[in-house]
């Protein structure tokens, strides 16, 4: 589905990503972990098109997308959920979703409702479990609920690949769990491919799919989290860090 081969990204002298090969299958949830400065975010930005790789290629279903502008990549179905929540605080959950759902229409056409989009907005609210909160101002939502709303707003644009940047940052255990569960069945139900950059190992366990460990811009290892946990290398790399 999404593939990076030999991706290199240099900032002047510094090599942030150093020849990463990495391939995600349709419907797979891939977590990318690694100590700070491992190049996670840089890789991420290369995938979304925010950064152009110095060398190497990025393929979406075998088609080159590296070097394309962000919104084009977005239109091809690669959606990104930012770490900092950017929901419209003053609007209700439903309004937020409707705004997201109607994005990209010409202004005058916005005067009439597009049933399909409206229904989709509500449908997705169901999907992420916000159906009870439709009338609530986003500003009044709990942290976890805001994250759900974010995800929902991304989903409304019907992406094929979903890139999530630390979706559970600063969440309580319960919130983290519910998000994990949510993401799982989204992936299965809509055959969504997801790439998640995450620190929280508990979350990663809950998601529990393959993990790519980055270190110094290189892929240190790749595998199921149980293997990764057992790996001494990873231990060494993460020495002092949560694992």
């Amino acid at each position: 589905m999404l593939e990076a081969s030999g991706v290199v990204k240099r900032f002047g002298g510094l090599v942030a990503v150093d020849g990463v090969d990495f391939r995600v299958e349709r419907g797979e949830i891939r977590c990318v972990i690694g100590p700070n400065g491992a190049g996670k975010t840089t890789l991420f930005n290369v995938l979304t098109g925010d950064l152009k790789p110095t060398a190497g290629r990025v393929l979406l279903e075998g088609q080159r997308i590296d070097g394309l502008p962000v919104h084009t990549i977005a239109r091809l179905g690669v959606a990104r959920k930012f770490q900092v929540p950017a929901v419209f605080q003053e609007l209700t959950v439903l309004e937020n979703l409707r705004v997201a759902a109607n994005g990209g229409r010409s202004v005058l056409s916005l005067l009439r409702r597009d049933r399909r989009r409206e229904d989709m907005a509500r449908g997705i609210a169901e999907e992420v479990g916000l159906q009870d909160l439709l009338g609530v101002q986003a500003g009044h939502l709990g942290h976890g609920e805001i994250q759900r709303l974010e995800i929902a707003m991304v989903l409304v644009s019907e992406p094929r690949v979903l890139l999530l940047d630390e979706p559970t940052a600063g969440m309580t255990y319960d919130e983290t769990r519910s998000i994990a569960v949510l993401l799982r069945d989204l992936a299965t139900r809509r055959h969504l491919t997801m790439v998640i950059v995450e620190h929280d190992i508990d979350f990663i366990k809950m998601i529990g799919d393959r993990i790519t460990v980055l270190h110094k811009g290189k892929v240190l290892m790749e595998g199921h989290h149980s293997e990764v946990e057992r790996s001494d290398e990873v231990r060494r790399v993460y020495l002092g860090e949560g694992l």
């Binding site: 990209g104 005067l111 009870d132």
Partner: protein, 347 residues
């Protein structure tokens, strides 16, 4: 802990959700009631009171127009009277100085289109040039000043401060809006229609986009909206609405004055809306009525203190209750709901 917090949020949400759908029904019901009430007034009220009520409705329309711009898209127009006055002068001049065919429809349509055109040009040039917020507000102020200046000094056309009068009745084929009552009924009909349309607008996807642009322009753009386009369209519609209000003013008052273009009147529109309550459409009418009626209860001498008080009101609206009177009403409602909720929780 947080889990419980969320659960609470959900419970709260359910109630709010309910109350919202209730409100929506209550709202449309109220609109119908109001329309009926307005319709029967002439049956028992005096001509003087009818004229007065007509004015309040016209003022309310002007304030509602500002609400679309300021309340929803968050752009303050300090010179909104410019569009009102332009509408009034356009239709007034047509009715007073021409004898074209289809006089009535022409006066009505041009009275709406010409202000709309001005609004479109202003919004187009400014918003697409990233001139927003304070700078935009200042420009609107200046435009209002210019137009009043011109209306005063173009004696040959507008009659200067003498004002414009001697308009022919606003006639649409067989039915003509001439007498006070005719003018009043015309205003009621148009006001109700305008309100419903405005309501549909703010409920439409565009309406949500308006909110989004106000709350967070960048994010809105990132969702694929042209924020400049949204603002321009809305401002143009608002200008048209203000123009319409101006047109309605002509048969009611039978006079048009430069001051109806000016900053003073613009400020009144702002006051009505801010005090009535922004982002509600209803607040516009509420404010227009309360403020004017409030003044009326005071003597000439106290009237001045009332003007002074409006200054204080504006400060209160900004510092304490951004949603004006409606906000206060809503707070009371919420408090009641909280009481109810509390008792339930206790049970």
């Amino acid at each position: 802990m947080a889990g419980r917090g969320e659960a609470a949020a959900v419970r709260a949400a359910r109630r709010v959700g309910v109350s919202i759908s209730l409100l929506r029904w209550a709202h449309w019901g109220a609109v119908v009631l109001a329309a009926v009430a307005l319709w029967v007034v002439p049956l028992f009220a005096r001509s003087y009171f009818i004229g007065l009520l007509g004015r309040f409705l016209v003022f309310g329309l002007a304030a509602m127009s500002l609400d679309l711009v300021w309340g929803y898209t968050g752009q303050l127009s300090l010179g909104h009277a410019a569009f009102f006055g332009l509408g009034a002068y356009t239709s007034g001049l047509i009715l007073a100085q021409t004898s074209w065919p289809f006089l009535g429809p022409l006066a009505l349509v041009l009275g709406i289109l010409i202000p709309a055109a001005l609004g479109f040009v202003m919004a187009g040039t400014l918003f697409y040039g990233k001139v927003v917020g304070a700078y935009f507000a200042i420009i609107t102020l200046l435009v209002s000043l210019i137009l009043e200046q011109l209306a005063i000094s173009m004696l040959w056309l507008t009659g200067g401060i003498n004002g414009l009068y001697g308009m022919k009745p606003l006639a649409f084929g067989p039915l003509s809006v001439d007498t006070l009552n005719e003018a009043y009924y015309f205003i009621v009909i148009v006001s109700v229609i305008a309100y419903v349309l405005a309501r549909l607008l703010v409920e439409s996807p565009l309406g949500k986009a308006m909110d989004a642009v106000r709350v967070n322009e960048k994010r809105t753009a990132s969702l694929g909206y042209s924020t400049a386009a949204v603002r321009t369209v809305v401002f143009t519609l608002a200008a048209a609405l203000a123009g319409l209000a101006g047109v309605l003013y002509v048969p009611l008052e039978a006079f048009v004055y430069p001051s109806q273009l000016g900053v003073g009147f613009s400020t009144w529109i702002i006051v009505w809306l801010a005090i009535g309550g922004r982002r509600s459409l209803v607040g516009a009418f509420l404010g227009a009525f309360i403020i004017n009626y409030g003044q009326s209860l005071l003597s000439e001498r106290l009237g001045r203190y009332w003007v002074l008080a409006t200054g204080v009101f504006l400060l209160i609206v900004v510092l304490v209750q951004p949603d004006g009177l409606l906000g206060i009403i809503r707070d009371v409602k919420d408090r009641l709901m909280r009481v109810v909720r509390g008792s339930r929780a206790g049970a």
